[in-house]
Each structure stands twice: as structure tokens, then as C-alpha cells.
Amino acid sequence: MFFQQLINGLMLGSTYSLIAMGYTLVLGVLQMLNIAHGDVFMFGAFLGLTFALLGIPLYWALLLAMLGAGIISILVERFCFRPLRKAHFLGPLLSTIAFGILLQNVGTQIWGSEPSRYPQTTEIAQFQLGPILISSIHIIILATSLFLMVAIDQLVKRTRLGRAMRATSENQTNASLLGVDIFWVFTFTFFASGALAGVAGVLTALVYLQITPFIGIRQGLIGMVAMVIGGLGNLRGAMIGGIMIGVMEVMNDAYLTAGYRDMIVFGLFFVFLIFKPEGLFGATSRES
Amino acid sequence: MLEIIDVSKNFGGLTALHHVNVQLPPQKIYGLIGPNGAGKTTLFNLITGLLPVSGGTIHFQGQALTSLHPHQITRLGIARTFQNIRLFPTMTVLENVLVAQNIHTRSGITSLFQLRAQADKKLREEAEALLQEMGLWPKRKEISSSLAYGEQRRLEIARALALEPTLLLLDEPAAGMNEAETEELLDRIQEIRSMGKTIFLIEHDMSVVMGICDYIIVLNFGKMIAQGTPDEIQANESVIEAYLGREER
């Protein structure tokens, strides 16, 4: 039973990790909190739904949703960040709040505010591993998340683009003087962030099977909590933070009352911000 | 009156001030000079409580300042201006001065009801007098950030004076001023001293320093290398060494 819950927790947690990583990328590279991120996640889920309803196989739907969400995220960069980046830091933040609400309303327009069911597009196979029941959904989610986590991690650590991102996060003027095209870095960072959110959206929809245009609010907030617990700007911290929260959520539902679950998560959020703002693994963002 | 006792300040690995010892009796004009980066503004920041000391203490009229908050230090009678002029940019000239008067009267929730009409009137008259002195009264309703540079400097001094301090710290008050303005500034500083106040100023303009200061303290690389009258300082070997050829005006 315990290990079953653990697997479920890992699965849920890995979706949170993806969302958290998206927040972290933008916060780390651009020192900005993108409150519309959760709603980009929601759009990813719905795009996946739309493609699935068109009969497109899961893997392609996932890819397309990823691209679509990435593009929407670029819109956030263009409208909320780029024109305001020299102003008071609250500017982009407030703008993303407005953009998020815009996305929610557009989503409601397109897909309605009633829950939409996710269609079954792949056969669900189930494997028995000792006392644990693993379905192909588990595997898809875990595998996809793991792949993306490693990919982004390696991209940031080892590639030229990653170096450019890290240089930009240290000091935009210097990076620019060193030949980095910081505007391309901004665009890519937002794209990657959105892509991760988009994938997380589709995967989450596979878990819950029902989505509304307002799921981004909660999931986005949980992702933010994961980011804080892991350490602001710390990519690996975000990964682990997300998984920890997922496991904790599932354990809470299994062994305590489900009602308190969110309270514990947000309570932790608050406590960490006040007493351990650097998170468990250290904040690497220069945001004060 | 102001006692700086064995004060040191570190920023991480960088030592900005190193065991500085200075005693300043009241009602004189003191100058603080030294090459750029010597730690002069840092010393002001320590006195006014904007930064904590890393070692030593500072006493003002017998009271230890080092554990106090900036607003408490101001209420004891110390006011300052800033090297890069920090006014309240969205507030008018008059408001900048008025807000400094808040320490003289009740400015909490009760101030909403404007009960203290008499006290208010007196404060406004004082504010007007200050602004008239500085030649800023005609511009009292303009936003402070729209003023010319020299006017902003004068406003900052007016605001500091509105606090009715016993000790006035001026950080490079003559920076960016022409001959005429500097002359006026010197006259004003003399006036302030004749009101019974003590003035401690940081300056790079040697003609100002030598011309008006009764006593000068010289810092270099965070250490005090000399203190004395203008004549003594001008003859001092280590000062000449630290300065020669660099900061002549």
C-alpha cells in the first residue's frame, strides 16, 4: 500500500516538478515571477485535449501541446516582460496577473467552464510489480518527466545556450557585452518554461481525466511552493521540491484527511518563506 | 558631543573602516576628507544608523547610537544630506520639508483630524521661512524631482534643517556647484553654525574645506591618517602623500 502511494506520489510530484522548473527558469534567468505560468499549464492541458479529440495519438498531442504552450509563454514574455523590464519589478508581476486572467477567460470562451473529459487515446496496460500496480500512465508520466528534467538540466549546465542563460541571469548588461543575445535568451527561457508547463498540463490531465480552465490556479500555486521549497532559482531544487510535494500530498490523502492537504502545503510555503527563504537546497537566484 | 570610538566596518572581506577614533566637541564646523573610497560616506551611514558597526561604538551627547534605528537617531538631533541627493521624488518641494517636521508633532492616526491647528500653523510658518531662506518658496508646489540640480541640493539642506538638528551631516554639499553657489553655501553653513549647530561635512572641494572648517579629519583606506586645523592638515606629510596632485580644485 505504502509503495503504491509512493509511486502515485512520484507521478503526481513529477508534474509539479515540471511546473516548478518552469517558474524557476524564468525567475532565475530574468528575476521575474510569472504568475501566468499556471494558466499556460492549463492551456497546455486543453491543447492536448483538443488534439486528442482530433484523434491524434498521445505522443504527438504531447509534442504539439508542448509547442503551443511554449508559444503562449513567449507571448507572456513579449507583452508582460519585455516592455516593462526596466521599470519597477512589480510591473511585470502585475502584468502577468492580468495576462493569466486573460488566458483563463479565453480558455473559458473556447472550451467552456464546465469540466471537459480527457479522451482515452492509448491503451492502458497494467503491470503487477510485487504489491504495486503500475499502469502505462504511470510509466508515461514518469518517463516523460524524467526525460525533460534531465534534458533541461543538461541544457542549462552543458550547452552554449545554457551558458548564455546563466550569464544573462548573473548580469544582463555584461552578458550582452560579452556577445550574448539576451533577447533570444529571454524568448527561449520563456518558451522552455511554457513547454514544460504544457507537458505538465497534458500529463496532469491524464491523471485527473477532467480539466477546467481554472486548474491552472491551484497547480500553478503548488508549482510555486515547490520552487520555494527547493530554493529560488535552483533547478534541481525545484525538481526535488515538486516530487516531495507530490508524495506528501498522496500520503496525506491516504493516511490523513484529504481536506487538510492544501493547508499543509501552503502552510509549508509560508513557513519556508519566513524562516528558510533559501529553500532546502539553496537559492541561486540573485533576486532579493 | 560626537564620539566615534574605535569604529570599524567590514563588508564581507572588505574593510571599509578600521579602528577610527574621533572626538568632536559641539558648535564647530568639521570637515571629513580623503580620496575616493576612503570610507567617508560609510562613516556617515554608521553615525546615522543606516548601517550597523562591525566594531566599536558611537556616542552622541552621551548616548550610544550603535544600537538605535535611524529614526531614533534623527530624533536625538542628527540630520544628514546625501551625496547623490535623495529627495522624495513624487512629493512637492513644500511636502519634502513638511514631512521632515512630522517629528515635532503628533503624526499618527490622530493627525487625520487636524486638531492641532495652532501647532500646525507654527510649523508651516517655519517651513515657509526655511524655504524662503533657500530661495525655494516660489517653487514650493513643484514636484521635487523637477527642480534644477542646485535647487535640489538646497532643498535637501532645507529638509535637514526642518528636523531642527543639533548635528548636521552634509555629504558633498558643494558637488556640482559653481563659484557663486558655493559662496552662498559657505555663507549658509556659517549661519547654521551661528545658530548653535554643529556641522560635519564631507567634501572634495579643498577651497570649501580649508576655507570654512575649524577642524579636519582625514581618512585614507578606512584609516584615520590625520586630524587637525586646516593649517596643520595642509602641512601634514601623510596627507600630502595621500592626496598630492589628486584632488585639487
Binding site: L90, F270 | I103
Partner: protein
């Protein structure tokens, strides 16, 4: 007056109060993303008092607002040590903690919500709105208001002119919480039924949007922004559902092209002077 129109006006009044609660905290350059939490405390406390303890409405509203304010003061102490994004996220976290708390709190219905509070009429709501506006009007012209402006402009320099910056920030928080508490109490007693989801992050976010739209520089901006937001849906009925999307789009554009919002401080200053000139007649006593 039709029930429908009354409903619109009632909610508008509550929106104005929520916008002012955000503005109150913004006066010291802090952004609170959790005012829905303060609203909830005011709502549930006052509702419990009237429904379960038979307390009359007005005292119940006051107690609710005071409870909210006390919570605001308590929370602000640790939270105000934080800077920038951490402060914003902490207020967000607080709002969510309050919401999830009431979702579980049995004595006020838990997940089933709380049924029964009633008695808020349009005159009562607007009575509070007018009192609050009057309060802000007094504040703007007072020494305290000037202190708040200074803290917002440059807290470090404000401390060097003798202002107790931390106390002012805490006070601003308490004020914002109080106003949100009043809004919550009025909301509960108008709607007859409240549940925790009525006080979610979107509510906090919308209040902020009112202020952005109307103008962050003066309290009139918050009032105007809330009014526009509340009335526009009715005026734009013909646009049906796209009008909500329009808000978001308009606000994003505002942040780019006119971040100070509709009403700027200069506008209010000029209007104020013209008004005062008329008021005082020919006598040239300066402001």
C-alpha cells in the same frame, strides 16, 4: 430598483472596498496578493457572530474587521522582513492558508459553506464605502499621509527624517486588512451564503486589477477602477463573454502604455487645486 441592479451595485460597493484594501497596503510600496484572506476572516467572523451568537449586524462587522486587522498586524511582522518577490509570495501564501483553513473549519461549515448571514442593505454597504473614502480623503491631507508617501518614495531616507518606517508599514497592512474585513463581512451578510472558494486567489488578483486600472498613485484610482470593472460588464453586455477577456487584454496594455493607471497623482492634484480655489473663493491661502 430591480433585484438585479441592486446586486450589481452591492457587489460594486464591496469591490470598491477590496480595491481600497489593496491600495492601503500599496501606500507603503508593498503588494499584498492575499487580501482575500482578510476578507474571509471578516466574513466568517461576522457571520458566525450574527448567526450563531445573535450579535447585531454593525458590531459583528466591526468585530470581524478588527479580527481581520489583528491578523494583518500579526502576519505583517514576520512578512515585512521579506523583500520583493518573497514578500509578495508570502502574502499569497497567507491568503491560501486562510482559504484552506476555512475549507476545513467545521464550526463555520467547512467545505459545505456557511448559510444564514443576512441584513446587509445597499445603504449599509455604501455607508461603509463613504466612510472609508472619507477616511482616505482625510489621510491624504494629513501628516500621516505625508509620512506614508515618504516611505513609499524612499524608505531609507524616510527613516533618516525621523519616520518609523516599520511601524508605518505594519500600520498600512493592518489598515488594508481592516477594510478587507469590512468588505468580507458585508459580502457575507448580503449573499446569505459563503464558502471558502469565495475568497480564493482570483478575488485577491481582481482587487489588484481594479487598482492597476484606476491608478495606483491615489486612492481615487482604486475607487474608479472598481467602479469601471463592476459596471462595464453591464454596459458591454452585447459583447457577451469576450468582455472578460477584454479586461485582461486592456490591463496588459495599460501596464505597457499607461502604467500609472487612469488617474494620476498630478491629475488629482490639479483637480484638487481647482476645487480648492473655487471653495475658498478669491482668498489666496496656499495649500
Amino acid at each position: 430598483m430591480s433585484v438585479y441592479l441592486e446586486g450589481v451595485l452591492a457587489l460594486m460597493g464591496i469591490n470598491i472596498l477590496m480595491a481600497l484594501s489593496v491600495y492601503a497596503i500599496l501606500t507603503t510600496d508593498q503588494l499584498s496578493l492575499g487580501n482575500a484572506g482578510f476578507m474571509a476572516i471578516g466574513a466568517y467572523t461576522s457571520a458566525y457572530l450574527t448567526v450563531k451568537s445573535g450579535v447585531p449586524l454593525l458590531p459583528a462587522i466591526l468585530v470581524g474587521a478588527i479580527a481581520s486587522s489583528v491578523m494583518g498586524l500579526l502576519v505583517s511582522i514576520p512578512v515585512l522582513r521579506l523583500k520583493g518577490i518573497y514578500l509578495v509570495m508570502a502574502t499569497l501564501g497567507f491568503g491560501e492558508i486562510v482559504r484552506t483553513f476555512f475549507m476545513n473549519f467545521e464550526p463555520t461549515g467547512g467545505a459545505y459553506g456557511f448559510r444564514g448571514p443576512s441584513g446587509a442593505t445597499l445603504p449599509l454597504i455604501y455607508g461603509w464605502v463613504l466612510v472609508t473614502i472619507f477616511f482616505f480623503w482625510l489621510l491624504t491631507r494629513s501628516r500621516l499621509g505625508r509620512s506614508l508617501d515618504a516611505v513609499r518614495d524612499d524608505p531609507e531616507v524616510a527613516s533618516t527624517v525621523g519616520l518609523h518606517v516599520t511601524l508605518l508599514k505594519i500600520g498600512a497592512f493592518g489598515l488594508g486588512a481592516f477594510i478587507a474585513g469590512v468588505a468580507g463581512a458585508l459580502y457575507a451578510h448580503y449573499m446569505f451564503y459563503i464558502e471558502s472558494n469565495n475568497f480564493n486567489f482570483l478575488v485577491s488578483a481582481m482587487a489588484i486589477l481594479f487598482v492597476i486600472l484606476g491608478g495606483m498613485e491615489t486612492f481615487w484610482g482604486a475607487v474608479v477602477g472598481a467602479i469601471i470593472f463592476s459596471i462595464l460588464p453591464e454596459v458591454l453586455r452585447f459583447m457577451k463573454d469576450w468582455r472578460l477577456s477584454l479586461y485582461g487584454a486592456v490591463l496588459v496594455s495599460m501596464m505597457i502604455f499607461r502604467p500609472s493607471g487612469i488617474l494620476t497623482r498630478q491629475m488629482i492634484r490639479d483637480l484638487g487645486e481647482r476645487f480648492e480655489g473655487i471653495w475658498r473663493g478669491a482668498g489666496s491661502k496656499d495649500a
